[in-house]
């Protein structure tokens, strides 16, 4: 039978099927962070059971950590308590733990690939919905809830019905100033935030083949924002080049053995998908969101759609625009902004900082803008320094913070104040996501850079 990439990886991980029920799926790698794990560890304690495979589990602190003065004790007692709980749990169960200040510390979905934990054909889960990021390597990766974290810790398995399959094809060439983030925001705007619910997505076509690994991670990361459980891209020479030589990547004979498996990881010609979309790369502009879900995005030079032009509830749409302080039909170009956030597991990798620097180089940060530039990990931070990007940032009046999730979910002190506008490279523009009352415009790193130097929404192509 012809199989999809997804089928191949899924089917090879089914331990058994429950009659009239879900598949029992074996999990190769489990990433753990401080926010969604404490209650799971408590569950193990209550049941008096151990972690089944500590060597398949990796813990990092990222969601709830400060992004300045990480060498000092964490101020917020609740955050400090969560970090302590993770450290204790990891130590007690023999799990590798990359805590605050550790050289390998960073956002869970940034460090996984950096250290070769993320591998093609693997099943990877984490108690964070953007686990879909790891699909960029041809892995099946998805976010889980805390009960499931407990399940994986105790049995290395998860019970899931097999999702339906979807393929999104984009061929042609992307225009100037159009990045992987724009591709993802474009897809979500076409499918809506629930358009892929119940599906696992494969991205295919020239656009993804030509994308860097970082770009592929950005696209797969955002799969969840259209409701998909995850997204994946078939591994190719770029994937293998990226992972080779990393700490947890197999070596020698094990590498050869893994390669034999990895080379089978592509969708067979003629394999069937439950749903398939085709888009044209030339249609995609630099994107920006204007509302309170990631599906409310548009080409940056367009006007905000009118309620009658959008599908779904008019009342919900109007409530959303009212929250943003915008009106139907207005242009986004020229809208004043207050904050810029460059970072998160969506766009906090070195390529994103390079792209940001490309625009701000030789320019100055606008006086009305507060900018939070937060690397996804220490490895990214070091690269920013080594490549001279830090100097460029300083010359333009920007400062760099320390790694973490930061304003992506604003659990720490990096909160956008009520009513203020932030152009953010993260993944969610929900009401209050970046702080109570905050207003988020999602965009690519270069749109964020253009906003940072002009103090308003600006077409980055005019600065390239």
């Amino acid at each position: 039978m012809k199989k999809t990439l997804f089928d191949k990886v899924w089917d090879s991980h089914v331990v058994q099927q429950v009659q009239d029920g879900p598949d029992i799926l074996f999990i190769d790698r489990h990433m753990v962070h401080e926010v969604t794990s404490p209650v799971a560890f408590l569950g193990l304690k209550n049941r008096n059971i151990p972690v089944m495979y500590p060597e398949r589990t990796f813990a990092t602190a990222d969601h709830n950590t400060p992004t300045i003065n990480q060498h000092l004790p964490v101020q917020d007692p609740l955050s400090a308590n969560q970090l302590k709980a993770l450290e204790e749990n990891a130590t007690q169960h023999g799990i590798s733990y990359w805590g605050l200040g550790h050289e390998k510390n960073g956002i869970v979905h940034v460090v996984g690939p950096e250290y070769g934990i993320t591998q093609p054909g693997a099943t990877i889960v984490c108690g964070d919905s953007h686990t879909s990021t790891h699909g960029a390597f041809g892995a099946i990766a998805f976010g889980i809830g805390t009960s499931e974290v407990e399940m994986v810790l105790s049995t290395q398995c998860i019970m899931q019905p097999k999702p339906k399959s979807m393929r999104i094809n984009i061929n042609g060439e992307l225009g100037k100033g159009v990045t992987s983030k724009d591709v993802a925001l474009y897809i979500i705007s076409r499918l809506s935030t629930s358009g892929a619910t119940g599906y696992f997505v494969e991205y295919a076509g020239d656009v993804f083949t030509n994308m860097s690994m970082e770009g592929r991670m950005t696209v797969c990361n955002l799969s969840i924002e259209m409701g998909a459980r995850g997204g994946m891209i078939a591994p190719d020479h770029k994937t293998f080049d990226y992972i080779q030589g990393r700490e947890f990547t197999p070596t020698g004979a094990n590498w050869d053995k893994a390669m034999t498996y990895w080379e089978t990881l592509h969708t067979d010609a003629g394999a069937n998908f439950d749903k398939e979309y085709h888009f044209d790369a030339a249609e995609i502009e630099p994107m920006i969101t204007y509302g309170t879900n990631p599906g409310m995005g548009m080409g940056i030079t367009n006007g905000i759609p009118t309620a009658d032009a959008v599908e779904g509830g008019e009342a919900t749409y109007k409530k959303s625009l009212a929250y943003m302080g915008y009106n139907e039909g207005e242009d986004m170009i020229g809208k004043p902004i207050d904050f810029v956030f460059l970072g998160s597991c969506t766009n906090g990798r070195i390529e994103d900082f390079r792209a940001f620097a490309e625009i701000i180089k030789g320019r100055k940060k606008a006086d009305n803008v507060t900018a939070w530039l937060v690397p996804g990990s220490h490895k990214v931070l070091n690269a920013i320094k080594e490549e001279g990007i830090l100097d460029q940032l300083h010359q333009a009046g920007f400062e760099l913070r320390e790694p973490g999730c930061s304003a992506c979910l604003a659990m720490n002190d990096d909160k956008v104040p009520t009513g203020k506008y932030a152009v953010s490279t993260s993944n969610r523009n929900f009401e209050g996501r970046q702080g109570p009352g905050s207003r988020t415009l999602l965009a690519s790193p270069i749109v964020a850079a253009a906003a940072a130097v002009t103090g308003k929404v600006t077409d980055p192509r005019t600065l390239l």
Binding site: G121, T146, M151, L409, G437
Partner: protein
Amino acid sequence: MAYDKFTVLTSTAVPLPIENVDTDQIIPARFLKATERKGFGDNLFRDWRYNQDNSPKEDFVLNNPTYSGKILVGGKNFGSGSSREHAAWSVYDYGFRCVVSSFFADIFKNNCLNIGVLPVQVSAAFLADIFAAIEADPSTELVIDLPEQSISISSTGASENFDINSYKKGNMTNGFDDIDYLLNIKDNIRDFADNTPL
């Protein structure tokens, strides 16, 4: 964690006719700092329910004494966004045992099933009927019959069937969870693990 068995639930319902209710609205991230599963009900819909000075917002449905009950009825695409199980916990801890909508986000739905909140997906038309019936008479009861997989509106007699996979249904009606099941097949899992390539 074990939870109460779910068979037939008859209750008034709280209407929330908003679409795309995301997990950041259900429970904002700043309330995720606990290391125990306690007290999440107080922060359910925190920013819709309370002003920044912690005074209740009069116009939000949970602050309106006219509406109460163990069933929450939400608009399409309920629970989108984050994987935080805290969203399902806060729904449960507040006292809801069932959420009705015409469409649920995947992870939220799974999380609910794992902790004993029943997600009931109905047609868009039936959802509109429920909202209309509650608006006409807030004391209208809904009857959720899990063994029969049916939901009915007591005041109008209208009813509809809903889907749930039979394994999850068994768990809900018995108050079991997946870990109990998996711990029983640990030897099979170990054999499987010994033969995986990665």
